[in-house]
Amino acid sequence: MSSMIATRDAYGETLAELGGEDPRIVVLDADLSGSTKTGVFAKKFPERFFNMGIAEANMVGTAAGLAAVGKVPFVSTFAIFAVGRAWEQVRQSVAYPKANVKIVATHGGVTVGEDGGSHQSVEDVAIMRAVPNMTVIVPADGVETKAAIRAVAAYKGPVYVRLGRNKVPTIFPADYRFEIGKGTELVAGTDLTFVTTGLMTAQAVAAAEQLKKEGVSARVVHIGTVKPLDQEIIVKAARETGAIVTAEEHSIVGGLGSAVAEVLAEQCPVPLKRVGVNDRFGTSGKAEELLKYFGLTAENLVETGRELLARK
């Protein structure tokens, strides 16, 4: 098994590195710096860290103000609060003026676990994707998170990055180059394609290995940037493999699955199946249990792949 690291840990580490490289970087958190890992930065650069208390709306607005005077603010809290509580601040104070604010939310999806449905954000990607000017990034592992955070710091404009709570397997090589807006073909294949994001990419790689044993050649395309979407790599996969299974730790409404469906419907209609949380709220449980409960597993991807091949 490859090494395991939580994307939030990779974020904390990278943010602290960046703090030493770029004095413009400031960090804001809403009483969750231990969980979001911005605490690593806070310890190193206390004067550039602002704990805004449990007041997310003001935190996002304050970040917009810091950006307006030339700072590069990173704003962190759980996905449910960054996108839910502070949605209109993200829209009006950040996205509308194209403020150079980076919203890096941790604890996205159902793997939040025991805290339950109130804290499991299954709609944040959909909501952020609908906001003009917003870039939406969902890294698959620690390596990609590190590269993405560096790319985000260098990019001028609003970005939403969605990270997870738990350790996930490292699937990218250490020298992986992340480019905003570009998908990556991780496994070559000709019979069908898994188009995936976040922690589901590792599951898709495992599913492709399983299908290979059964004589099915499955391609895996990882989408690190859900918006702007790499349409080219998706259309190419549809043309060359003729069937697409999307997978995300998110509602199938409005997230990656919807984004891919939009592209396919307009440019290259092929049989499609979306794997994700089926328009439901989350529930309490252990992360691993919840992934199984919601069908966010390699086994379910294998089964879905087989079903789809029968429709081809």
Partner: protein
């Protein structure tokens, strides 16, 4: 001082004329709250703030955030008068293709720092600016102009808490307390009084003035600058629609513009007989 006050009073009168003409041309926008705020806006743009209309991004500038973004005409006429853009642009307010959006938009209008208009968000941005400027060890000041109805937004108090917590004494908030909001009197819709007491309880230093008394505005702005250790708010009692007798103290004129018939009468009230 008296000369300065007279000069600014005359400037404010001219800007009131410009507001009325601009809103008559657009036939859409917020008259009452623009007229109640204009004396404070005049004091800031034509005396108190350091800024450079030929270089809106000049690093040495003080910042102004119009939290009550619906009073955009008040800011726009001041910016045009100061020379940020041609006065003719005012006649394009709220029209398709104009840089003068219904509410302030930093992407298009020179001199506008942030996007405001959704009430309650501006003070947070002003706090962020003040923190950023302090980090850079700059002595620039940040001025945020809020409405009293706007104080009903919870985010204002989150920002108030943060400003006091981080002791941003380069921040001066001004409340244009005209006592009216869309649905009627602020005290009846959702009472925000006592305003100064609330800010004091949040750790702010407070000054209370008549928001149409130019000498008092200037004195309060000067005093705010000397108050260290935390943010200051100037609670300014004002009259909605101030200067145009038949607009004054009427909630109905919140989002209504002068008609063709009202225009000459409104200008007459402002001592302008040219039309």
């Amino acid at each position: 001082m008296n000369e300065l006050v007279t000069h600014l009073e005359e400037k404010a009168r001219q800007l009131r004329v410009a507001i009325v003409k601009t809103l008559h041309a657009s036939q859409s926008g917020h008259t009452g709250g623009s007229l109640s705020a204009i004396d404070m806006v005049t004091a800031l743009y034509f005396h108190k703030m350091r800024h450079n209309p030929t270089d809106p991004a000049w690093e040495g500038r003080d910042r102004f955030v119009l939290c009550k973004g619906h009073a955009a005409p008040a800011q726009y006429v001041a910016l045009a008068e100061a020379g940020y853009f041609p006065r003719e642009d005012l006649m394009m307010l709220r029209r398709l293709g104009s840089h003068l959006q219904g509410h302030p938009d930093s992407k298009g209008t020179p001199g506008v720092e942030v996007c405001t208009g959704s009430l309650g968000q501006g003070l947070s941005m002003a706090v962020g600016m003040a923190l950023g400027l302090r980090l850079d060890q700059r002595d620039n000041r940040v001025y945020a102009l809020l409405g009293d109805g706007e104080l009903q937004e919870g985010q204002v108090w989150e920002a108030a808490m943060a400003a006091a917590h981080y002791k941003v004494d380069n921040l001066c908030a001004m409340v244009d307390a005209n006592g009216l909001q869309i649905d009627g009197e602020v005290t009846k819709v959702m009472n925000v009084n006592p305003i100064a007491d609330k800010f004091r309880a949040f750790g702010w230093q407070t000054l209370e003035i008549d928001g149409h008394d130019m000498a008092a505005i200037l004195a309060a702005l000067d005093q705010a600058e000397t108050l260290k250790g935390g943010p200051t708010v100037i609670v300014a009692r004002t009259v909605k629609g101030k200067g145009v007798s038949f607009f004054e103290n009427k909630a109905a004129y919140h989002g209504v513009t002068p008609s063709d018939e009202e225009l000459p009468r409104a200008l007459e009230c402002l001592g302008c007989f040219e039309e």
